[in-house]
Each structure stands twice: as C-alpha cells, then as structure tokens.
Symmetry: D3
Subunit: 250 residues, 6 copies
C-alpha cells in the first residue's frame, strides 16, 4: 500500500517530524512518501493561511497523487480536505479529522491541546466543520511565543504537559488530542506523564489512511463527494487545472 | 463612500449582472467599483472551486482594496470571507451572509432557492459556517442543466418561480433567498409572482456594506478577527504576500 | 423614506437618547418620527414588563404606523416583534435583532454588554427566539444599581468600558453589542477605548430599516408571517382592535 | 388545595370544556375555580393574539390569584407563562408545558395534533421556548375550516383521529399531545382508536398543578424567576399594576 | 391505585429512605410497595453499575409488577427505564426523569446537586438520553468521601446546602434537583435555607406516577415503545425471560 | 496483537459471519478470538434486549479479556460499550462506533441501512449516545420479515441494495453504514452496485481496534473513563464481580 503524506506548510523541518512519526506508525507493508509545500507559509495558523493552504494542498495532491492508494493532509485544521475528498479518487484524510475521530474511540469528550493561541479560531472552525463540537471539551493553548516551529515540542515539553493537566482540571475531557503537525511524536514521549490517552494526529492519520485502503473504500459517484463535472479553468497550477478540467494524468 | 465589489468568478457576464443590480441598490453617494477574477473558474459551484475561489478573493482584495471603505465578495458561498475579515482593515461582506441576515429580518426561516444542484453542498457548508442552520428552511434547486451562466435567470425564470412555490409548499419558509450571483436582479423581476419576500443577495450586500461603513465599524485589534502578525510567505501573488508579510501598500 | 421609531417604554428621556442617535445614523433622505409609550413601565427589564411591552408596542404601531415605510421597536429585547411582523404591512425591526445581525457581519461571536442584571433573562430569551445562541459569546452586565435610566451611560461610562474588556477576556467575542436603548450613542463615544467593533443598536436598527425599504421588501401573504384573518376582539385599544378585526385605517 | 384555571380567551364555551375536563382530572380534595378573559379574542391562534393573551393572562392572575395555591394558564401556547412565573408567588403551569412534559414520561418523542394551521407557528415557538424541540416529532393540523371553536372536537372527531394516525405514520412519535383548550376531554373519548397514549393537556395541567403544590414548591428569591423589584407603572389594569408596583392585595 | 417503587440498589437503608419520602408524597388513596435489589451493587454510581442496574431493574419489574398500576425505578440515572417502558404495560417512571421534568415547571434551567463526583458522568448521559441538556444549568457535586450511603444526607447536610448556593452563584439555575435516592427527603429539610425551589426526586416520581395513572395512560401498541414481539431467551432470570418470551404471568 | 471479538448475541451463526469478515479484515500479525454469548437473546434488537446485552457483554469481557490487547463488542448498537470502556484496561470498540467514525472519513453524512425496523429505536439512541446525530442522514430499514438471522444478507441481498439506492435518493448521505452484525461481509459483495462507499462495521471495528493498539493507547486514570474504585457486589457473574470488586484475574 502506498500513502502520500502532504505537508501544506513550507517548513521542511516540520515535514521531517511528520515523517519520523509516520514511519513509526505505519504497518510493515506500507510505503510512505512525503511532500512539502513549495508555496504558502512556514506554518499555517490563521484563517487566511488556511485558505491559502487549502489551495496549496489541492495543488500538491493534483501533482503527487498518481500511484498512491490514499493521502494525508498533514496540517491539523485539515486545509482543503472537503475539496480533496470530492476531487480525487483516493481516500484523503486530515490530521485533525484522524486525531479527533480516533480520540472518540477512547472517551466521550476530547480536549485539543496546542502550542499557540493563533491557531485556536481556525481549529474551532475545523471542529465545527466536522460537526464534532459536542465531543469537544475545550481547546487549550500556550500563550507564550516559541522559538522555532520545528522544535516547539522540545522547547515547550514541560509547559505542554502542564497544559494537559490544566485541560483535565478545567474541562471534562477523557482524552487529549495533541494538535498541530509540529507536535508529531510528542504523545509517545510524554504519555506516561498524563493520566488520559494522548492522541498523536500524525500516527492516527497514517493508521486511518491504511484502514480506509484495507476496507476497500471506493470513490463515490453519487452524494456530495462525487467528483464534479469537468469545467474550464484559468491561471491555476497545471496539475490542478488538469484535474478540474477532467484531463488529469494518472 | 467607496465600495469594492469582487466577483471571484472569471465570468465577465456575471460581473455585469452584479454591477447592474448593485448600482440600483446603492445609495446616492456611494461609489462602486467592480472587479472580475483573472484566475479560477467561470462559476464557483463545488467545494474545490470554493477552495480556489477563497484564495482568489484574497488576492483580489489585496490588490484592489486600497482606498475602499468596504468590500463585497460577490459569490453566494462567501469564499474567503473569514480570512478576508481577519486580514483587511475594511468591513468585508459576503453575498450569502448579507442575503441570509437580511432575510432573518423578514421572517423566522428562509429557504435558499438556486439553479443548480452542484451548488448545494457548498451552500449548506456556508450556512453552517455562519451558524444559521436553525434559520434555514431548506435548499431548493433546479435539477436540469442550463445554457449559460450569465443568462440562467432569463432562461429559467418560470422554472425558478415554480421552485419558489415548491419551497413554500414543502418547507416552513417565511422568506426566500435567491442564491448565486447569476440571479442578481431576479428578485425585482418576479417579486409579484411569489407570496413571500424575495431577497436579492447582491442588493442586500451593497446595502449591508453601506450600513457597516455608516456605523463606523472599526477593525478589531482583539478577538479572533484581529489581524494576524506578519509572517514570511513563498510563491504567493505579490499583493497578497505583501499583506501577509505586513508590508502592504495602501 | 419615512421610518417610525417606537419606544415601548414610558421614559421620554430614553426616547430623546434614541432620537439623537437615530438622527445621526439616518441617511439624508430619511424622515424619522419618534413615539413614547403612554402606558407600561419607564424601562422594560423583566419577562413581565416585556409581556406588557409587547402589547404596548402593538398598540403604538396600530396607532402610528399609517404613512410609514418601516418601523423600529426601540427596546433591546424586541417586545412584540414577531406579532408586529405578522400584523402590519411594513417591515418592523427590533433593536436586539438589528444589533445582533449587524454584529454577525463583523465577527463569529458577539458579546452582549448591558447595565443591569435584571435584563439578562429576557435578553437571553430574545437571543434564543432569534435562534442566534450559537453566535452569542456571553451576556455581561453591571451588578450595581444606577441612578437614572436616561443617564446610565454617563454615570457608568468607565464601568461599561471595563465590562467590555472583561467580556473580551472571559469569552471568545469578536464584537460587542451594547444592549438597551439607554446606551444609544454610547458606542460612538467609547469605540476608541475597546479593541473590537462596538455595535450601537439604535443606529443599526435605523440603517437596517432603511435597507429593508430600499430592497423593496413586500409583505408576505404566505408563510408564518402572512397577515392572519380578521377576528373579533373585546376590550382592546381601538387602533389595535381595528387591525385585528381587519378594519384598520391606513 | 385551591387551583385557579384561567382561560385567556374570551370564549365561555371553551371555559366550559376546560372546566368539565379539569373537574374529572382533579383529585378529591382539590377545589377548582375558572375564569374567562373579559378582553382579548375568542380564541388565541397567532403571535399577535398570543402577545395580547400574555398580558391578559397576567391581568387575570393579578386579579384572581389571591387565595389560590397554584394556577393554570389554560391556552396551549402558554401565553404569559414566563412572566407569571416570575411575578406571582404560586406555581403557575401552562397547558402546553403540562401536556408536553407529561408526554415525555410516555415516550421519547411526541407529536402535537391540532385543529388549525393558524396555530402552528405560535405552537412551534412555544415548544422552542420550553427547549423541547428535540422531543418534538412534528406538529400536525387540519387544513380545513371549522364551524365553532367550542364544538371543534365534536365536528372534527373522525378527522382528528385520522390525523393522529397520519402523525404516527409520518413521524417517529411515541405519544400524541392533543393541543388547544378546545380539545379538552377529547383524549378520553378517542383513546381506544389511537395506538399510542394521548395526552389531554387540561387534565395534565390540573394534575401537574396539584403535584407542584403537594411537593411544597416555594417561590424563588434567586435565579431568573425571583420576583422583580417594584417599579412604577402607567395605564395598566389596577390589579396588575399593584403587583408590579409591589403593593398587591393578597 | 397501586404503585411499585423499585430500588435497583442492594442497600436496604436507601430503600427505607425512599419509602419514608414516598409515603409522605403519596396521595391518600395510593398504595405503595417497595422492593430492594437482591443482586447488583449497594449504590449505583458508574456506567458499569448502571448497565448492571438496568438489567436488575428489568428483573425486578418482571417479578413484581403484576397487580400494579405504575412503577418507579428509584435510582437517579434511570437504569433500564427505556427498556422497561417498552416491555411492561404500566407507566414506568425514573427518578431523574421525574425530578427533571418537575423542575422544568419551576424554571428555565435546573442544576443537579449530588454528593459524589463518581455519579456525574452517568448523570450527564442520563440528561442527554432525556434530551434535556439545554435545560441543564450544571451538575454540582461534593468532592469528598462520605461514610455511609444511607446517611450521606445527615453527614453532609451543611456541605450540600453550601453546594446549592455555589450552584446558584456559578450557573444560571432557577431550580435545584437534589439527585440520588440517598437524598430522598432532604429537600423538605433544607428548603428554607436555599432561595430557589428544591426538587425531591422520590416525591416527584410518586406524584408523577400517580398523574400518569389518573390520566389513564394506556400502553402503546405503535411507536418505538410498543411492546416488542416475543423472542426466545437463554439463561435470563425466569420472570424476565417470561416477559421477553411473551409468556409472562400477570 | 491479540483482539477479542465478542458477539453478545447467542447466535453461533452470526458469530461465524463475524469471524469470516473479521479474518479478512485483520492485518497479517493479528490474532483474533471469537466468543458467543451463552445467555441473552439470539439477536439484540430492542432497548430491552440491549439492556440485557450490555450486561452480557460485560460478563463476557470480564471472563475472556485476559491476554488481549483490545476487544470488539460485535453488535451494532454497542451494548455495554461505555461501561466496558471504564472498567477494562484495554481499548474496547463497538461495531456502530467503528462503522460510523470510519464513515465520517468518507463523507459529511452517513445513512444507516439495516434489515429490520425493530432495530431503529435502539440504533437511533446509539447514534445519539455517540453525539453523531448531525452526521446522520437517516436510518433506512426493510419493513418485511426475514427467515433466519444468519442468512438475512443472502435472502435480502437485492432488497438491501434497493434500500441503499432509496437512502441516497431520499437523504443527503455520502456514505452508507451497513448496520448489524448479520450484515458482516455484505459490503464487499455489493459495493459495485451502490455508487457511494459502503462501510462494513465488523471489518471497520477490527481495523480500528488494531489502530488503537498500534497507537499505544493507554488506559485512563483520570477523566470519566478512569476505572472506578472497587465496590462490593451481590449475585453477579463471578468474573464480572471480580472486576468490579477489584480482585480480577488477568
């Protein structure tokens, strides 16, 4: 099985974190490939950056998806997920989606713990898009700045563990979703210090992608995710234009 | 007062319809300017096209907004609206938002009537994003193809009036929102044939934009729509990159 | 265009505040007329007073509405609004409705800030009636008594600004709705001291009434706001009895 | 125990129906007294009539309540209920409230069956006010006119039984609430013809009023139903004015 | 009228508390009988214990119900209630259900006050099952251990009164539901010390059971609570097996 | 990895169907063990049977779980799931839960398609317990009897495919969840005849159980699924009693 993992951010360091965690989570026979955005921002945090990241994710999928059985959009707010799901024939999974749905199997309500307040409005809209608000115990974030996006988990390890404890004290969370690709791999490091299950979204997304492939999920030709009819485009990235115009390669 | 009206579709014919209706709706002292997308698709209908349209709307705003008091994103699903509202200093209004909120003042529930089933999934997500689902009586659409996007209201006038009657018979709608920029101006033509108020979204959006300007709405520097901090970008349209990087002109 | 602004409270001082703000907000060609309740209470704050105020608002509309293009019920909880909307042919707008819907165009969630706890139960029911609870970030109120209803904004200016800051700190509000006719005009005075948009409900209501008239909104003859059939009455105020019995003048 | 049953309609014939059913339902030691509105409309059906009926109910309570242990507002939409509950020291129960809450003990969802479409908008708002929408399977009504409000159950008996069957076929109702004081006593007559429990709202309201008295429910002096502070009034019915001004008799 | 009151816990001391309160609440002609679980746990507090308690309640009903007009499942989370309602011909009422629905007639929102945190997850699921979450102001509990389940109200009287005050200060509760059969009779003892109505669930359940009998509620033969068809069973308690297999005695 | 798959029904034939499908879905290294209930009913369909099945599932888990890494409760309504999740240290997954959450990754809304109306009330409560109602497009069922529970998919194959088409025509489903253990393996047989993804709940549950094990999900010691404190029991099955009393073997 071949799974494509896309980082719609331009930070190669974040892709490296994602890759390390994804490889640990993948089943023996799974082949993973990673791609980093070549345009956009180093780390998507706001509605604006998510709007851009959505199109970037589509461009990356259009370019890279041939030959893959499933794809993961490896940014927590799932930029472009709904669009990708309607346009491409393979299952496409978002990091937030995989993390939250996996968390649902370990408890009634999950808290989202993350490292920056800037992310919370976008994250909340993501939870609402997935209609999972009634499973959300709260979004908890660090209020302080961090030095580097690809080392935030190292720099803030203790602060994030404290924040997990605060989330448990101040909400009725049964599970914690560690949110944001820069926290890939962090759950495994600190699980012993937090008394509820911690969900690593990258690991969860790889497992869920494998599950959808193993279950033989076929593309819809009816319902709201059936592939739309071909339509002319102007000025789009060539691979994406090809997919929308119905003359894709692959 | 100067209001910028953006058509994030590439159809000049649709911009012409928008412009004619907007000019009729605007107050005497209001100066309107119109812009048509130079990249994207002729008419946004799907989640994919909306994801692209969101970025296109941001690019257009970044380029054209200097000197304007408010802006209208003139596509019913409001592509890019949340992002635009956080990035730019002027009030930005979406067509769906303006139409739905105006409809709320004429009844408890509104029906959305539109000309193509392809639009309904995106429209429903738009209603959910605005948290107005409990005001929605239903989305009603024509199931048949149409010839040209900029003459759909001419070709389908009788069919759309029939659809309005069906919406009233099959739901508890008090008001009807005629959805999609290609229906600009249609409400005025057929109001006499439908027994509930019909909302023209383009006209509503222009009036609401004027209202926000007249009320002196200032940009937020707190809350989730405060402008995000500057961030480096790669490969974005220059004007939009300027806004995200905090070195905009205007 | 002629707009009737009704104060369903018996305080002439509050009507004066309303009038000053409404005149500032109105477009050049708009003619405004104001009326003060001749029965009821000085200032509606409770469910009981709102129940009375609803009937008073209907009596006032029945008496004064001939010749007007739209009407505003100038009390925040919108007493009698649903009834007025079904009975009279013109658009009728409530202060709360106008303020909240306008706020929705400036952010995802609004806080309601007001000067007395006594108002909050009624206000909450009003938000629920409008089905806008999911847009509400919270209702914040002063806990202390005030001297005079028509000078509460003068006496409490600093306290209300502090309360706006508390609302932002303790909720996820993007916008603040300053609630209650006695706060008419207060937003303009303190906008510079609060980092999110402040909505003045009286100003918003005038602009929204103008918008509905400019959009040519016609009375419904179907749906739940179609005018009910004539019915005999006993012991009601003559003008209101006339409207219910279908023999109105005007 | 003494219970006051108020008909906020001016139809003495409806009061007679209410009285006959209430007497059958009351426990041996319960003393019932009935009052008919002396102003208002023969039968409340619309939002307008409900707004008037709310004030009428308050006037009737203010005048008649001294000496009673509880009161029933005997109109299905519960006009004035929230206000009455905050103003008067005794428990006050609405017909809709009693019928719906009783129905909840016989199933997961109830259908409301009534004799006129004119009632449905008001009834729906009443269900929403009680926050029972998720228990509502639907509102079903006869579309045809009836001859006399106090014989609607005689004239339409078979049609209403058919409507109950339709409600069961078209919704997931477990119980049926027969709505409107004019249907008092009808459940007992046709229960054998309908395969789910039928709730008679008048009978339910009398039993629930007795229950609240037997449970010794005391008036709140905190929370949103604590009696409001005294306030001056102008032009109100004397007894009601007395209660609001804090100089009531009784 | 004969009412069966089942304690699905094995604590005879709790049954004694229930019985004392139920006898005070019952109407003169009502004959009450009590039963205590012979298997299960002393006091149901967790999801696990509730799952067991549900089956125990069904076993007890199957064994004891012949000859009764109604039954009460006297544990706050209503174990087995939905099942009992579909299987047996009499009305069956749960303690939580009776307490919450009765509370709804005294205010808009109720707080649940109880003596142990262990109960809260189960209680919350019970509120959700009854679809009364929007009427719930909060669940408040003591965090400390108690000595004996049948004297918790004696030991913790002052602490529970303090907790009621905290519930009023920290939520918008209008009424307080004292939750858990071990608090039977406590409301009457401390009502004077709490400024909102206190609901005693055992007393409420007895009154509501009487009400359903007096209203002549008949078993459903349609809807989701119609008795299911007979089905073979293996290894169940004989009386319950008889009911499921359609060869019950009684 | 060792996974225990429990059939809380007494039908060995259904266990055989489950086993065949589970073995096809499991990853190479996964060892599966199956158990069939020795008490209860042949096929759980009603609230009563689910209440019994919940306890049966707990008894089976208590007896069989030692040595397993995860467990699946292989009945669609997830009897006993919440209880099992709090009592046992391994991840426990329900069939409905796994099917619905997996479906969420293939579309916005799923329809549940099943073979008997008797199941729908229980299924609906299960969807509500999981707080997934807003993802549910509808529950669709065959109205006709079937011959044998372990051959319902053979007998009704065409009828079920027709029902899938009806679900797509009458709802906005993007995915279909084939509900009930007796439909195990059916999705793979008919996927080609239905234009949206079909989810096989048994296959999904096995994959999700594997995912939770691979992610290293640890038991909670805080939150509402922390294992409850030990408590004495009376008359329970020995292994279950052992777990509740804190003296389990394993």
């Amino acid at each position: 099985m071949r799974i494509l993992v896309l980082n719609p951010n331009t930070s190669q360091g974040v892709t490296d974190l994602i890759a390390a965690t994804a490889r640990m989570a993948a089943a023996p026979g799974t082949e993973l490939r990673f791609a980093t955005a070549t345009r956009g921002v180093p780390y998507i945090a706001t509605r604006t950056e998510a709007a851009i990241g959505g199109q970037v994710a589509l461009e990356m999928l259009a370019e890279h998806q041939p030959g893959f059985d499933a794809a993961v959009i490896a940014a927590f707010g799932d930029p472009g997920l709904g669009a990708a799901r309607e346009l491409f024939p393979q299952p496409v999974i978002g990091l937030a989606e995989a993390g939250m749905l996996t968390a649902c199997m370990m408890g009634k309500r999950f808290a989202i713990v993350t490292f920056s307040q800037a992310l919370t409005a976008w994250y909340r809209e993501c939870v609402e898009w997935h209609a999972l608000t009634s499973r959300l115990a709260g979004i908890f974030f660090l209020s302080e700045p961090f030095r580097a996006i690809d080392d935030v988990q190292g720099e803030k390890a203790d602060r994030l563990v404290d924040l997990c404890h605060r989330a448990l004290a101040e909400s009725d969370a049964d599970v914690i979703v560690l949110a944001g690709a820069p926290l890939a791999g962090f759950a495994a490091q600190v699980q012993g210090r937090v008394p509820v299950p911690l969900v690593d979204c990258v690991a969860a997304a790889v497992c869920q992608a494998e599950t959808l492939v193993r279950l033989g999920m076929t593309p819809a030709t009816a319902g709201s995710f059936a592939r739309p009819g071909a339509k002319p485009t102007t000025g789009l990235a060539p691979a994406l234009a090809g997919w929308i115009e119905g003359r894709e390669q692959g």
